[in-house]
Symmetry: C2
Subunit: 240 residues, 2 copies
Protein backbone atom coordinates (compact mmCIF):
# COMPACT_ATOMS: atom_id res chain seq x y z
CA UNK A 1 0.00 0.00 0.00
CA UNK A 2 1.27 3.46 -0.84
CA UNK A 3 2.22 5.61 2.14
CA UNK A 4 0.62 9.02 2.61
CA UNK A 5 2.71 12.12 1.83
CA UNK A 6 4.35 14.55 4.25
CA UNK A 7 5.12 18.17 3.35
CA UNK A 8 6.42 21.12 5.33
CA UNK A 9 5.28 24.68 4.53
CA UNK A 10 7.82 27.26 5.71
CA UNK A 11 5.64 30.40 5.59
CA UNK A 12 1.91 31.21 5.39
CA UNK A 13 2.70 32.78 2.00
CA UNK A 14 3.48 29.32 0.60
CA UNK A 15 0.43 27.49 1.96
CA UNK A 16 -1.66 27.70 -1.22
CA UNK A 17 1.06 25.85 -3.17
CA UNK A 18 -0.09 22.67 -1.46
CA UNK A 19 -3.27 20.61 -1.64
CA UNK A 20 -4.85 20.81 1.79
CA UNK A 21 -8.16 19.24 0.92
CA UNK A 22 -7.08 15.67 1.64
CA UNK A 23 -4.59 16.56 4.37
CA UNK A 24 -4.23 16.98 8.08
CA UNK A 25 -2.66 20.42 8.58
CA UNK A 26 -0.62 20.98 11.73
CA UNK A 27 -0.45 24.67 12.69
CA UNK A 28 2.91 25.41 14.34
CA UNK A 29 3.66 28.60 16.27
CA UNK A 30 6.22 27.51 18.86
CA UNK A 31 6.88 31.02 20.28
CA UNK A 32 4.21 30.96 21.67
CA UNK A 33 0.63 30.55 20.43
CA UNK A 34 0.50 26.78 19.92
CA UNK A 35 2.58 26.16 23.05
CA UNK A 36 0.10 28.21 25.06
CA UNK A 37 -2.92 26.51 23.46
CA UNK A 38 -1.55 23.08 24.40
CA UNK A 39 -0.82 24.23 27.94
CA UNK A 40 -4.28 25.71 28.52
CA UNK A 41 -6.03 22.59 27.19
CA UNK A 42 -3.70 20.26 29.10
CA UNK A 43 -4.54 22.19 32.26
CA UNK A 44 -8.25 21.73 31.79
CA UNK A 45 -9.45 24.66 29.70
CA UNK A 46 -12.82 23.74 28.12
CA UNK A 47 -11.76 25.16 24.76
CA UNK A 48 -9.50 27.73 23.12
CA UNK A 49 -11.02 30.24 20.69
CA UNK A 50 -8.35 31.61 18.33
CA UNK A 51 -9.36 34.97 16.82
CA UNK A 52 -7.70 37.32 14.35
CA UNK A 53 -8.38 40.71 15.88
CA UNK A 54 -8.44 42.43 19.25
CA UNK A 55 -12.05 43.53 18.62
CA UNK A 56 -13.18 39.95 18.00
CA UNK A 57 -11.28 38.84 21.10
CA UNK A 58 -13.14 41.34 23.29
CA UNK A 59 -16.48 40.50 21.69
CA UNK A 60 -16.07 36.72 22.17
CA UNK A 61 -14.83 37.32 25.70
CA UNK A 62 -18.06 39.19 26.44
CA UNK A 63 -20.35 36.61 24.83
CA UNK A 64 -18.80 33.35 26.11
CA UNK A 65 -19.50 32.60 29.80
CA UNK A 66 -16.52 31.88 32.04
CA UNK A 67 -13.98 33.01 29.45
CA UNK A 68 -10.73 34.98 29.63
CA UNK A 69 -9.23 37.08 26.84
CA UNK A 70 -5.55 37.04 25.91
CA UNK A 71 -3.24 38.84 23.54
CA UNK A 72 0.12 40.60 23.46
CA UNK A 73 1.99 43.00 21.26
CA UNK A 74 5.65 43.69 21.92
CA UNK A 75 5.57 41.57 25.06
CA UNK A 76 2.78 43.52 26.77
CA UNK A 77 -0.90 42.63 27.29
CA UNK A 78 -2.98 44.45 24.68
CA UNK A 79 -5.16 47.19 26.23
CA UNK A 80 -8.73 45.88 26.51
CA UNK A 81 -7.62 42.24 26.97
CA UNK A 82 -7.03 40.52 30.30
CA UNK A 83 -3.98 38.29 29.94
CA UNK A 84 -0.89 37.68 27.82
CA UNK A 85 0.31 34.92 25.48
CA UNK A 86 2.56 33.18 27.99
CA UNK A 87 1.88 29.52 28.79
CA UNK A 88 2.97 30.30 32.36
CA UNK A 89 -0.20 32.36 32.81
CA UNK A 90 -2.43 29.31 32.41
CA UNK A 91 -1.85 26.81 35.25
CA UNK A 92 -4.64 24.37 36.13
CA UNK A 93 -5.52 26.37 39.24
CA UNK A 94 -6.52 29.27 36.99
CA UNK A 95 -7.66 27.94 33.59
CA UNK A 96 -9.50 24.70 34.45
CA UNK A 97 -13.11 24.85 33.28
CA UNK A 98 -12.63 28.18 31.49
CA UNK A 99 -12.60 29.19 27.82
CA UNK A 100 -9.44 30.95 26.57
CA UNK A 101 -10.06 33.49 23.78
CA UNK A 102 -6.68 34.33 22.25
CA UNK A 103 -5.37 36.56 19.47
CA UNK A 104 -1.81 36.16 18.18
CA UNK A 105 0.29 37.68 15.41
CA UNK A 106 1.13 34.66 13.33
CA UNK A 107 -0.47 31.40 14.47
CA UNK A 108 -4.10 32.50 14.31
CA UNK A 109 -3.60 33.84 10.80
CA UNK A 110 -2.22 30.55 9.49
CA UNK A 111 -5.00 28.59 11.19
CA UNK A 112 -7.63 30.71 9.45
CA UNK A 113 -5.81 30.32 6.12
CA UNK A 114 -5.79 26.53 6.52
CA UNK A 115 -9.50 26.57 7.25
CA UNK A 116 -10.25 28.80 4.26
CA UNK A 117 -8.07 26.68 1.96
CA UNK A 118 -10.16 23.62 2.79
CA UNK A 119 -7.91 21.61 5.09
CA UNK A 120 -9.39 18.20 5.83
CA UNK A 121 -8.39 18.34 9.52
CA UNK A 122 -6.47 20.93 11.55
CA UNK A 123 -4.33 20.32 14.62
CA UNK A 124 -2.14 22.73 16.57
CA UNK A 125 1.31 21.57 17.58
CA UNK A 126 4.39 22.58 19.49
CA UNK A 127 7.06 20.86 21.59
CA UNK A 128 4.82 20.73 24.70
CA UNK A 129 2.41 18.38 22.88
CA UNK A 130 4.93 16.74 20.56
CA UNK A 131 4.12 13.07 21.19
CA UNK A 132 0.35 13.54 21.00
CA UNK A 133 0.74 15.13 17.54
CA UNK A 134 3.14 12.45 16.28
CA UNK A 135 0.99 9.57 17.49
CA UNK A 136 -2.14 10.98 15.89
CA UNK A 137 -0.42 11.59 12.55
CA UNK A 138 1.08 8.10 12.47
CA UNK A 139 -2.23 6.45 13.23
CA UNK A 140 -4.34 8.53 10.83
CA UNK A 141 -2.78 7.24 7.59
CA UNK A 142 -3.62 10.53 5.85
CA UNK A 143 -1.48 13.09 4.02
CA UNK A 144 0.16 15.60 6.36
CA UNK A 145 1.12 19.27 5.97
CA UNK A 146 3.32 20.72 8.71
CA UNK A 147 2.50 24.44 8.59
CA UNK A 148 5.00 26.88 10.08
CA UNK A 149 3.48 30.22 11.11
CA UNK A 150 6.79 32.07 10.80
CA UNK A 151 7.17 35.71 11.76
CA UNK A 152 5.13 38.16 9.68
CA UNK A 153 5.36 35.74 6.76
CA UNK A 154 9.12 35.28 7.07
CA UNK A 155 10.71 31.89 7.70
CA UNK A 156 11.60 31.20 11.31
CA UNK A 157 13.78 28.57 12.87
CA UNK A 158 11.73 27.50 15.88
CA UNK A 159 8.65 26.46 13.90
CA UNK A 160 10.81 24.66 11.34
CA UNK A 161 12.64 22.91 14.15
CA UNK A 162 9.36 21.50 15.44
CA UNK A 163 8.36 20.41 11.91
CA UNK A 164 11.73 18.66 11.69
CA UNK A 165 11.23 16.99 15.06
CA UNK A 166 7.86 15.62 13.95
CA UNK A 167 9.18 14.52 10.54
CA UNK A 168 12.16 12.84 12.17
CA UNK A 169 9.81 10.88 14.46
CA UNK A 170 7.20 9.79 11.90
CA UNK A 171 9.11 9.71 8.59
CA UNK A 172 9.02 5.93 8.19
CA UNK A 173 5.24 6.02 7.86
CA UNK A 174 5.25 8.59 5.02
CA UNK A 175 6.42 9.21 1.46
CA UNK A 176 8.59 12.34 1.58
CA UNK A 177 9.54 14.19 -1.61
CA UNK A 178 9.81 17.63 -0.08
CA UNK A 179 12.99 19.68 0.26
CA UNK A 180 11.52 21.71 3.13
CA UNK A 181 10.93 18.53 5.13
CA UNK A 182 14.39 17.20 4.29
CA UNK A 183 15.99 20.46 5.46
CA UNK A 184 13.85 20.66 8.61
CA UNK A 185 14.59 17.06 9.55
CA UNK A 186 18.32 17.53 9.16
CA UNK A 187 18.23 20.81 11.08
CA UNK A 188 16.38 19.16 13.95
CA UNK A 189 18.59 16.09 14.04
CA UNK A 190 21.77 18.22 13.96
CA UNK A 191 20.58 20.21 16.97
CA UNK A 192 18.49 17.69 18.91
CA UNK A 193 21.21 17.27 21.53
CA UNK A 194 21.04 20.94 22.49
CA UNK A 195 17.90 22.60 21.20
CA UNK A 196 18.24 25.37 23.74
CA UNK A 197 21.58 26.65 22.45
CA UNK A 198 20.32 26.59 18.88
CA UNK A 199 17.04 28.30 19.74
CA UNK A 200 18.94 31.06 21.50
CA UNK A 201 20.48 32.03 18.15
CA UNK A 202 17.13 32.72 16.52
CA UNK A 203 15.81 36.20 15.82
CA UNK A 204 12.57 35.50 17.70
CA UNK A 205 14.45 34.48 20.85
CA UNK A 206 16.32 37.78 20.83
CA UNK A 207 13.07 39.66 20.34
CA UNK A 208 11.23 37.95 23.20
CA UNK A 209 14.18 37.58 25.56
CA UNK A 210 14.41 41.37 25.47
CA UNK A 211 10.94 41.36 27.05
CA UNK A 212 12.19 39.11 29.87
CA UNK A 213 10.59 35.97 28.43
CA UNK A 214 13.53 33.53 28.40
CA UNK A 215 11.82 31.19 30.86
CA UNK A 216 8.80 31.03 28.55
CA UNK A 217 10.93 30.20 25.56
CA UNK A 218 12.71 27.34 27.31
CA UNK A 219 9.32 25.90 28.20
CA UNK A 220 8.10 26.24 24.60
CA UNK A 221 10.89 24.00 23.29
CA UNK A 222 10.40 21.34 26.00
CA UNK A 223 8.85 18.12 24.69
CA UNK A 224 5.66 16.69 26.15
CA UNK A 225 5.24 19.02 29.12
CA UNK A 226 1.57 19.52 28.11
CA UNK A 227 0.98 16.41 26.06
CA UNK A 228 -2.57 16.71 24.79
CA UNK A 229 -3.91 16.45 21.23
CA UNK A 230 -5.22 19.86 20.15
CA UNK A 231 -7.71 19.76 17.27
CA UNK A 232 -9.71 22.47 15.58
CA UNK A 233 -13.44 22.02 15.14
CA UNK A 234 -16.18 24.54 14.35
CA UNK A 235 -14.17 27.61 15.27
CA UNK A 236 -12.55 26.34 18.46
CA UNK A 237 -9.55 24.25 19.50
CA UNK A 238 -10.35 21.31 21.76
CA UNK A 239 -8.10 18.95 23.67
CA UNK A 240 -8.25 15.17 23.95
Amino acid sequence: MEKPTLHTVLSPRLLDLYDLSSSIVVIIDVFRATSTIATALYNGAVQVVPVSSVEECIEKGNSIPNSVTAGEREGKVIPGLQFGNSPAEYPRSFIEGKTLVITTTNGTKLLNMAKNNGASEILTGSFPNFSAVCQYLKESNKNVILGCSGWKDRFNIEDTLFAGAVASEIQDAFTIHCDSTLMATQMYESNAGDLLSFAKKTSHWHRLANFGLSYDLEYCISKDVANVLCYYQDGVVLGK
Copy 2:
Protein backbone atom coordinates in the same frame (compact mmCIF):
# COMPACT_ATOMS: atom_id res chain seq x y z
CA MET B 1 31.08 51.69 11.55
CA GLU B 2 27.96 49.59 11.33
CA LYS B 3 28.21 46.57 9.06
CA PRO B 4 25.72 46.14 6.20
CA THR B 5 22.95 43.55 6.58
CA LEU B 6 22.67 40.12 4.95
CA HIS B 7 19.34 38.38 4.36
CA THR B 8 18.34 35.20 2.56
CA VAL B 9 15.00 34.93 0.73
CA LEU B 10 13.89 31.31 0.39
CA SER B 11 11.23 31.71 -2.32
CA PRO B 12 10.23 34.37 -4.88
CA ARG B 13 6.95 34.61 -2.95
CA LEU B 14 8.82 36.13 -0.01
CA LEU B 15 10.90 38.68 -1.93
CA ASP B 16 8.62 41.66 -1.30
CA LEU B 17 9.02 41.23 2.48
CA TYR B 18 12.50 42.71 2.13
CA ASP B 19 13.77 46.17 1.20
CA LEU B 20 15.65 45.74 -2.07
CA SER B 21 16.13 49.40 -2.84
CA SER B 22 19.43 49.75 -1.01
CA SER B 23 20.60 46.18 -1.60
CA ILE B 24 22.61 44.02 -3.93
CA VAL B 25 20.33 41.09 -4.83
CA VAL B 26 21.99 37.82 -5.83
CA ILE B 27 19.72 35.67 -8.02
CA ILE B 28 20.39 31.99 -7.31
CA ASP B 29 19.16 29.16 -9.54
CA VAL B 30 21.77 26.46 -9.08
CA PHE B 31 19.97 23.78 -11.18
CA ARG B 32 20.69 25.26 -13.71
CA ALA B 33 20.03 28.81 -14.94
CA THR B 34 22.63 30.74 -12.99
CA SER B 35 25.20 27.95 -13.40
CA THR B 36 24.71 28.10 -17.16
CA ILE B 37 24.83 31.91 -17.25
CA ALA B 38 28.18 31.89 -15.41
CA THR B 39 29.53 29.21 -17.74
CA ALA B 40 28.52 31.01 -20.94
CA LEU B 41 30.02 34.31 -19.76
CA TYR B 42 33.16 32.63 -18.47
CA ASN B 43 33.57 31.01 -21.87
CA GLY B 44 33.40 34.33 -23.68
CA ALA B 45 29.73 34.97 -24.43
CA VAL B 46 29.26 38.70 -25.10
CA GLN B 47 26.13 38.81 -22.95
CA VAL B 48 23.24 36.69 -21.67
CA VAL B 49 19.69 37.91 -22.22
CA PRO B 50 17.30 36.32 -19.68
CA VAL B 51 13.69 36.35 -20.88
CA SER B 52 10.43 35.17 -19.35
CA SER B 53 8.68 33.56 -22.29
CA VAL B 54 9.44 31.35 -25.26
CA GLU B 55 7.96 33.96 -27.62
CA GLU B 56 10.30 36.66 -26.29
CA CYS B 57 13.21 34.23 -26.58
CA ILE B 58 12.50 33.61 -30.27
CA GLU B 59 11.95 37.32 -30.95
CA LYS B 60 15.21 38.40 -29.26
CA GLY B 61 17.03 35.58 -31.01
CA ASN B 62 15.83 36.94 -34.34
CA SER B 63 16.72 40.56 -33.58
CA ILE B 64 20.14 40.18 -31.94
CA PRO B 65 22.97 39.35 -34.37
CA ASN B 66 25.11 36.30 -33.62
CA SER B 67 22.78 35.04 -30.90
CA VAL B 68 21.56 31.59 -29.88
CA THR B 69 18.28 30.79 -28.13
CA ALA B 70 17.97 28.36 -25.24
CA GLY B 71 15.23 26.87 -23.10
CA GLU B 72 14.03 23.52 -21.77
CA ARG B 73 10.91 22.04 -20.31
CA GLU B 74 11.01 18.58 -18.75
CA GLY B 75 14.62 18.16 -19.82
CA LYS B 76 13.97 18.69 -23.56
CA VAL B 77 14.77 21.71 -25.77
CA ILE B 78 11.58 23.74 -26.24
CA PRO B 79 10.28 23.57 -29.83
CA GLY B 80 11.24 26.80 -31.64
CA LEU B 81 14.44 27.25 -29.59
CA GLN B 82 17.89 26.01 -30.55
CA PHE B 83 19.60 24.76 -27.41
CA GLY B 84 18.96 23.59 -23.85
CA ASN B 85 19.74 24.87 -20.35
CA SER B 86 22.80 22.71 -19.75
CA PRO B 87 26.11 24.45 -19.01
CA ALA B 88 27.79 21.64 -20.97
CA GLU B 89 26.25 23.03 -24.17
CA TYR B 90 28.26 26.26 -23.91
CA PRO B 91 31.99 25.56 -24.22
CA ARG B 92 34.27 28.38 -25.39
CA SER B 93 34.58 26.81 -28.84
CA PHE B 94 30.86 27.38 -29.35
CA ILE B 95 29.70 30.38 -27.30
CA GLU B 96 32.65 32.81 -27.51
CA GLY B 97 31.57 36.09 -29.06
CA LYS B 98 27.89 35.11 -29.16
CA THR B 99 24.83 36.34 -27.25
CA LEU B 100 22.89 33.70 -25.30
CA VAL B 101 19.13 34.36 -25.07
CA ILE B 102 17.74 32.06 -22.38
CA THR B 103 14.35 31.35 -20.81
CA THR B 104 14.09 29.33 -17.60
CA THR B 105 11.31 28.30 -15.23
CA ASN B 106 12.42 29.86 -11.98
CA GLY B 107 15.56 32.00 -12.22
CA THR B 108 14.36 34.43 -14.88
CA LYS B 109 11.17 35.05 -12.94
CA LEU B 110 13.02 36.00 -9.76
CA LEU B 111 15.41 38.23 -11.67
CA ASN B 112 12.51 40.17 -13.17
CA MET B 113 10.88 40.43 -9.74
CA ALA B 114 14.08 41.86 -8.26
CA LYS B 115 14.25 44.41 -11.06
CA ASN B 116 10.59 45.39 -10.62
CA ASN B 117 10.98 45.66 -6.84
CA GLY B 118 13.74 48.22 -7.27
CA ALA B 119 16.89 46.27 -6.42
CA SER B 120 19.92 48.56 -6.27
CA GLU B 121 22.18 46.03 -8.06
CA ILE B 122 21.54 42.51 -9.34
CA LEU B 123 24.06 39.68 -9.66
CA THR B 124 23.53 36.07 -10.65
CA GLY B 125 25.29 33.41 -8.60
CA SER B 126 25.90 29.70 -8.38
CA PHE B 127 28.71 27.41 -7.27
CA PRO B 128 30.61 27.78 -10.58
CA ASN B 129 31.16 31.51 -9.85
CA PHE B 130 31.15 31.28 -6.05
CA SER B 131 34.35 33.21 -5.28
CA ALA B 132 33.63 36.04 -7.70
CA VAL B 133 30.26 36.62 -6.01
CA CYS B 134 31.72 36.46 -2.48
CA GLN B 135 34.58 38.82 -3.28
CA TYR B 136 32.29 41.41 -4.85
CA LEU B 137 29.84 41.32 -1.93
CA LYS B 138 32.59 41.67 0.65
CA GLU B 139 34.16 44.63 -1.14
CA SER B 140 30.91 46.46 -1.86
CA ASN B 141 30.00 47.29 1.73
CA LYS B 142 26.29 47.33 0.82
CA ASN B 143 23.30 45.39 2.16
CA VAL B 144 22.89 41.97 0.53
CA ILE B 145 19.85 39.83 -0.30
CA LEU B 146 20.57 36.25 -1.33
CA GLY B 147 17.54 35.36 -3.46
CA CYS B 148 16.71 31.68 -3.98
CA SER B 149 14.67 30.96 -7.10
CA GLY B 150 13.24 27.74 -5.69
CA TRP B 151 11.03 25.45 -7.72
CA LYS B 152 7.70 26.93 -8.78
CA ASP B 153 7.77 29.12 -5.67
CA ARG B 154 8.56 26.23 -3.32
CA PHE B 155 11.71 26.17 -1.20
CA ASN B 156 14.54 24.11 -2.62
CA ILE B 157 17.70 22.83 -1.05
CA GLU B 158 20.28 23.50 -3.76
CA ASP B 159 19.67 27.27 -3.94
CA THR B 160 19.61 27.52 -0.15
CA LEU B 161 22.85 25.55 -0.01
CA PHE B 162 24.54 28.13 -2.22
CA ALA B 163 23.13 30.98 -0.11
CA GLY B 164 24.57 29.20 2.94
CA ALA B 165 27.94 28.77 1.26
CA VAL B 166 28.11 32.50 0.49
CA ALA B 167 26.93 33.49 3.97
CA SER B 168 29.44 31.14 5.56
CA GLU B 169 32.23 32.76 3.55
CA ILE B 170 31.33 36.44 4.03
CA GLN B 171 29.45 36.49 7.37
CA ASP B 172 32.14 38.37 9.30
CA ALA B 173 31.63 41.44 7.11
CA PHE B 174 27.85 41.62 7.75
CA THR B 175 25.24 42.06 10.46
CA ILE B 176 23.01 38.98 10.29
CA HIS B 177 19.64 38.90 12.08
CA CYS B 178 17.93 36.52 9.70
CA ASP B 179 16.75 33.02 10.53
CA SER B 180 16.86 31.97 6.87
CA THR B 181 20.54 32.88 6.68
CA LEU B 182 21.29 31.13 9.97
CA MET B 183 19.57 27.97 8.72
CA ALA B 184 21.24 28.10 5.30
CA THR B 185 24.69 28.63 6.81
CA GLN B 186 24.30 25.71 9.17
CA MET B 187 22.93 23.50 6.38
CA TYR B 188 25.89 24.34 4.17
CA GLU B 189 28.49 23.89 6.89
CA SER B 190 26.98 20.53 7.94
CA ASN B 191 27.21 19.23 4.38
CA ALA B 192 30.26 21.04 2.98
CA GLY B 193 32.38 17.91 3.22
CA ASP B 194 30.10 16.04 0.84
CA LEU B 195 27.79 18.38 -1.06
CA LEU B 196 27.24 15.75 -3.72
CA SER B 197 25.66 13.19 -1.40
CA PHE B 198 23.41 15.83 0.11
CA ALA B 199 22.40 17.27 -3.26
CA LYS B 200 21.45 13.79 -4.45
CA LYS B 201 18.72 13.68 -1.80
CA THR B 202 16.94 16.77 -3.18
CA SER B 203 13.71 16.61 -5.14
CA HIS B 204 15.22 18.57 -8.04
CA TRP B 205 18.10 16.13 -8.42
CA HIS B 206 15.63 13.26 -8.72
CA ARG B 207 13.64 15.19 -11.31
CA LEU B 208 16.63 16.07 -13.48
CA ALA B 209 18.58 12.86 -12.98
CA ASN B 210 15.60 11.10 -14.52
CA PHE B 211 16.36 13.09 -17.67
CA GLY B 212 19.96 11.80 -17.66
CA LEU B 213 21.40 15.04 -16.31
CA SER B 214 23.47 13.80 -13.34
CA TYR B 215 26.72 15.03 -14.91
CA ASP B 216 25.23 18.52 -15.25
CA LEU B 217 24.15 18.58 -11.64
CA GLU B 218 27.58 17.60 -10.34
CA TYR B 219 29.05 20.47 -12.36
CA CYS B 220 26.47 22.92 -10.98
CA ILE B 221 27.57 22.28 -7.39
CA SER B 222 31.31 22.56 -8.21
CA LYS B 223 32.88 25.74 -6.88
CA ASP B 224 34.72 28.19 -9.14
CA VAL B 225 34.72 26.16 -12.35
CA ALA B 226 33.47 29.28 -14.22
CA ASN B 227 34.58 32.01 -11.85
CA VAL B 228 33.32 35.23 -13.41
CA LEU B 229 31.23 37.99 -11.84
CA CYS B 230 27.81 38.07 -13.54
CA TYR B 231 25.95 41.36 -13.19
CA TYR B 232 22.65 42.53 -14.61
CA GLN B 233 22.47 45.85 -16.43
CA ASP B 234 19.85 47.28 -18.78
CA GLY B 235 18.16 43.97 -19.52
CA VAL B 236 21.25 41.80 -19.98
CA VAL B 237 23.71 39.87 -17.82
CA LEU B 238 27.35 40.71 -18.41
CA GLY B 239 30.54 39.10 -17.14
CA LYS B 240 33.64 40.69 -15.69
